[in-house]
Symmetry: D2
Subunit: 338 residues, 4 copies
């Protein structure tokens, strides 16, 4: 940590800050400039609440120097993490994976039809929700575990892996038999009890960035999971909240190369939630692949306009098939396969 | 709902949209202008996913006309809600209430000392955390139920009510004997399972606004609780995330009068989390009372710089006592008591 | 315009609002629902300050139905605008154009070396600044018109067109002999006097989106230029301000397809300003092309680390050459040339 | 400046960074920790583009230590600046000043009626616009200098000072005879040519914060004016752009105490633009005074609903008179007069 003193800080104030740092277990190196004194602290600062030092008399600013995550950092696994699945699919390698499905599972016919379409288009993952977090208590809330069983059957039929959102601790054990990859939704990105519990299982976790979360906070949340021993974490950019209203969220494509620089974890682009508009899904999916995304997650439905949830951002089958064909070309253009 | 067609929409497109609206159970009134046609839909639109209509051919924009909440709306209780507590304290009436305590409960001595100080200053509520949601898995995580028991004893000793954060469904029953008011933290504002469960109990809930939540979303979350039958909901403004970094969050003081206009629920100002800086707590607490806040929530600690959590925003006892004295004058200036 | 009345609005209030609308020259169509009355207004609403109606007694919300711009709208030129330049370059057609150069022109050698590199890589436009808007009054402020003359000579030598930023009305006439395309910077996007003046000349204008501007506001600003008769406007996405700090701005790639849907004007992606980091320029340039950008604007310098301005986001020549080669493949993948 | 090296930085990389710092005229102090090396640079770093160092191989982060402004800093005038006007009014002292008037000057009758009302309520400043920056080119654009002459006459009649917005360099000399205080609007906060020119005159400047400007950027803009020798700068908080849409902007009340801490300049609260809604002006004006604002700026009009501009946020005379009476009580409560 670095403590920059105010220009007019007194020698007594500098001493008091130095003492406080030493008391916190930090070694202090002092640099006295013409106008300003700087105190550099070395030691166990990761667990310190450094904001406290900013309020000591005579202090101008305090900066944290070390990044607050360890296991999620690129240095931990410089070669990058590749998450492998029982059907042979991988997320994080050279191939760009496809994760697709309905926002909500509605019935057997729907999910089997969709699974067939995903497989035919070359996808590896079937994704669907059975517990729906809806802003309004009066909206459709999902089918629960029976819906998940249907999805699991459909996935097995077509050799796909299931991805589905867990909303709460107590659901994990009931979902485990039918879930190949647990999704943690944007609203739960900082549900630390849930993250910790997912660190205890040995099943991949797809962790979505919260709508107001920084990339650093996303990495800290992945650290919660990894610190329990589960290193199979896949991150997901799905749009952040900004002042712009022409899209539901602003999909932060730059999060993809930033994550690749800071972390070894793979990152997925979700243009469906990232834009909230069916007509923006294709250009943003291509942008995500061009920027280096390790997989694309899209919502599809045979009768998209009648989907029980997120209809406005859901693709029809023909739109999905065309998108996959187009993405294949873009992936090749950036040296990947799909 | 209102569907505005594009200027060059064809008669076939207008008919198709009209049919889709009617099929969704909505009565349609058409207005044909010189340049544009408008379709006004009347009926059960609250449960419709209106974004879907925006993607139909020929449509320019779709607007929701009805507000998506009912029980939280001002019209439901025009006179306003006053939440009353067993010790006679009220939140929502003419008196501005004081809620104070440490971010985290650390030990018996600490919480008893603080309870005594809150009472002496004229406060009615003792607030402290025992399950701490920390961004980093390596930070202090709280004492759990034993800590809550300590707080409850201290509160009883001094005639105060306890306010503490619930993080998860399964904690509710264990907390119930010691908790006079459940706090739902900003990170859980859209943890709908938790909200629904809190709707089933009969104990007041202090619901904090999420750092990226709109006021409408805050009211929708309160609707989740109220739709279960628990109408004793108290809202809390505690800062939103913006691009400005000189304060930890940007405390949106205007949320106070906006909530008072849209809803009957009382609203609390939390300048500790709203600013993240001890030296900004007093001016922002005064601003909140001047703007009409029904209570002020502040973090205090006998040795604020050594607090186990949120030290930088925690007041010392003498700062707290001076603040309460100052707030009393401001409350009087706006026709309230404290 | 649509006026939604409150559920408990009285008949007198509805009449008063109707009268106010009629007085403003608007025809009113009334829809009376079970719980709510809606007034649809048809007429010259584009010039009305509709917010006023929102404050009338009994009113819940007011929505503008017509988009507030006309000339910038897609309907005005459904086939799209292609801006053509004397050297044969086009922005807006099938070919993706390349605009490159230093942030600031420093001397003859620098700008000739850069012009040669731009040409060799296949670029068509040489861009450099001579009036630098710097946040700090103590930073380098640019060479002025003599610098522009140098850039013009270099551009002529290599058959390139010049693009440079105009900061103020009075500069236009002095810049005109040496400028093939006037850039309006993000900070001046709503300098309406400047925009109006640029509407009076017949020279293309590259209009950058302000860091807090909505896409609608960007289109309104382009309308200022076009309403003067200058229809050769090129828009530019260069990053917006959000809470995320790992990149200087958040480059809103979705603005590219959104502009293409709403407007006929071409749009350029600027990954240099969009990210502020040299190592993020390449992935974001690829993403912009994949999403449909009509040109890419990048900052280059033979000695990037020593550039007098924006050094951190400036590419070295070899990085630029590799980027152009890579972009050519991505452009082909999305059906464009480069 | 502080350069934090990556954990795995090599000795060669550390040497290269050290050399680059020394070459830039900075003295380097090295701290070698168990996991990380830190380089503290002391010297003329204010004019350095420190982002460049962040891209050198082996570098993790770079922090600026010194604040980038000098004349605007609190240390420059610890006692605070009080701007005095010919009519005896002061902004920055113990008394809270009142600045009021119409958004746009419409005619002689209007401005004289308003001047009389401002004086009667105890205000000292008459504010009105004659050059209106409107987002739409089709909206009312203002009366120009003749309108300003009318305001000046009205102000003289009632012993008030005039405050009006300058939009462009060339207007200054024409406005000078009639203007007691030049307002720089939010859109021009970073129009550096204009700021520099205002630094050359000797007339107070009211500088509004841009809608996406940080407080640091606001202080840097004031530095532009002060570096020309004009130290009579008054800052103004008028709302920033956030994701919340229930108010036009989010008025950042915390900017008031933050500016008072960082700078010696006075700061005005503008609840009219800060909220965009007439019914939110009073609570937010009280909040601003409670938080320490040195003046309040409000828009008033005898027939507010028919105002030519900003009607929705404009107060009627009786609302204004009541507000001033209420503010007087709040000012007293925080130890000020009004």
């Amino acid at each position: 940590m670095i403590v920059a003193m105010l220009e007019n800080a007194t020698e007594e104030q500098i001493d008091a800050v130095t003492d406080a740092m030493v008391e916190a277990g930090v070694s202090v190196h002092r640099t006295t400039g013409a106008t300003q004194t700087i105190l550099a602290g070395v030691g166990p600062t990761a667990s310190l609440d450094i904001d406290t030092f900013e309020l000591l008399p005579g202090v101008s600013h305090v900066h944290r120097i070390t990044v607050p995550y360890k296991l999620a950092g690129r240095a931990f696994r410089p070669e990058g993490t590749v998450v492998e699945f029982p059907n042979g699919a991988k997320i994080g390698g050279n191939q760009v994976a496809i994760i697709a499905g309905p926002c909500a599972i509605e019935n057997r016919d729907q999910i089997f039809t969709i699974a067939k379409c995903v497989k035919a288009a070359g996808g590896q993952f079937l994704r669907g929700g059975v517990f729906k977090p809806r802003s309004s208590p009066y909206a459709f809330q999902g089918l629960g575990i029976p819906g998940l069983q249907l999805m699991h059957e459909a996935a097995q039929e077509y050799g796909l892996m299931t991805v589905t959102e867990v909303m709460e601790l107590s659901q994990i054990e009931h979902m485990l038999p039918y879930t190949d990859c647990f999704q943690v939704g944007a609203r739960n990105m900082q549900n630390f009890n849930l993250l910790r519990e997912l660190g205890q299982i040995r099943r991949p976790v797809l962790l979505k960035r919260g709508i107001a979360a920084t990339i650093e906070e996303l990495l800290l949340s992945s650290e919660y999971i990894m610190s329990g021993g589960n290193y199979e974490v896949i991150l997901c950019e799905r749009g952040i909240r900004t002042y712009e209203t022409s899209t539901r969220n602003t999909m932060d494509i730059s999060a993809i190369p930033v994550v690749h620089k800071l972390s070894h974890l793979p990152i997925v682009g979700d243009p469906s939630h990232g834009t909230g508009r069916r007509d923006m899904v294709a250009p943003m999916a291509k942008a995500a692949v061009a920027a280096g995304a390790d997989a694309i997650l899209v919502e599809i439905h045979p009768n998209a306009d009648k989907a029980a949830s997120d209809a406005a951002q859901t693709l029809y089958f023909d739109q999905f098939e065309k998108l996959i064909a187009d993405l294949r070309v873009v992936a090749t253009a950036v040296g990947r396969t799909l």
